[in-house]
Symmetry: C2
Subunit: 206 residues, 2 copies
């Protein structure tokens, strides 16, 4: 089965499984787990977990369950995070600042490498050790550093223009914090983080 045939909703759960298994590996004395135990942790049915994983082959053994380390390695391979990806952060405002200080990227497959901003007052300063570069240098510096992933933390009004530059510079994936829909070519993948969208998903059920 090719990746195009696996529903995106399945893909969206794999990082959650990986995160929970990594925590299990750190916490648990046992080398194995089951879809039941994993599901209980995540509030997902064990049948759903088995079905999701079955898209990618046979992982568990009847009766003995999953070897936690093996499943972590499989998921890292599937999600292509066995090695770290270099990432650029565009925008050195409050969100860029939080991203630069976040210590949860490194052991999960990502390493911030470059930070950009358009504000002359910020360019040349440091953010948690990272120098802030002029966003005008995107198209030169991203290919030079072989960076294909970016986190976009600029105001909504600037987001599409910066996204266009990122695509031009060879970026293939953008995690956008701007509360607008970004248009990109089909070869580029965008995921977005908008706290209001998540809050509205909560209030719907209130």
């Amino acid at each position: 089965m090719t990746s195009a045939e696996i529903p995106d909703i399945v893909i969206s759960r794999l990082p959650i499984y990986l995160r929970a298994l990594t925590r299990m590996a750190a916490d648990s004395a046992l080398p194995t787990t089951s879809s039941g135990e994993l599901g209980k942790r995540l509030g997902i049915s064990s049948a759903q977990i088995r079905k999701d994983l079955s898209h990618f082959g046979e992982f568990g053994k009847q009766g003995t369950g999953y070897n936690i380390r093996d499943l972590i390695n499989h998921l890292r391979r599937i999600l292509k995070v066995e090695h770290e990806w270099d990432v650029a952060v565009i925008g050195a405002g409050a969100i860029g600042h939080a991203l630069a200080h976040y210590n949860g990227f490194l052991d999960r497959g990502f390493r911030i490498q470059l930070i950009f901003d358009s504000d002359p007052a910020k360019i040349g300063t440091r953010l948690n050790g990272f120098e802030v570069y002029d966003v005008a240098r995107l198209s030169e510096m991203l290919p030079a550093h072989n960076i294909h992933l970016a986190m976009l933390a600029v105001p909504a009004e600037a987001a599409q223009a910066v996204a266009n530059e990122l695509v031009q510079a060879g970026v293939r994936g953008i995690l956008s914090y701007a509360p607008i829909n970004i248009a990109v070519p089909e070869t580029v993948r965008v995921q977005e983080i908008d706290p209001v969208v998540q809050l509205q998903r909560i209030t719907y059920y209130a």
Copy 2:
């Protein structure tokens, strides 16, 4: 059809529709739009949009499309954001700081009202005008302010304990920035924001 019967994946798209329509209302000279135009903006098929909206009644008219303002009002009612919700932020670190400075909440249904932290050095200081309160006062202050929504921006190790206190204090929805799965009673809704989960959804397709 009761809300329980509408798939969550449908609900997850409604805030995106609302966001795009609100932008259209600000940008567009025309009072109406179509599922085709909306879909083009969002990279979603017009059939999908019509099907999603059909769960909630008849909105568009054959040939004339949707009245943008009306559809905005319908979606606000469905998502229960016609009025603003007061929200508490727990954690005055880098993420709490970014949330306190984010100006995109107010006109979309949410208003930060209280900020808490456990760090004596932060308690009593101000974050974009908000006083930072001792997290020990959660159970007293949340009910007193009639707050039922919280954004959780504390370290992973503290997140479950704080979530338990939020539930005790009557919170019914939590937007969690902690990269762990939070266990809550079924009556409480959790959504989470984890940039690594989103980045791994991107790299899967790389």
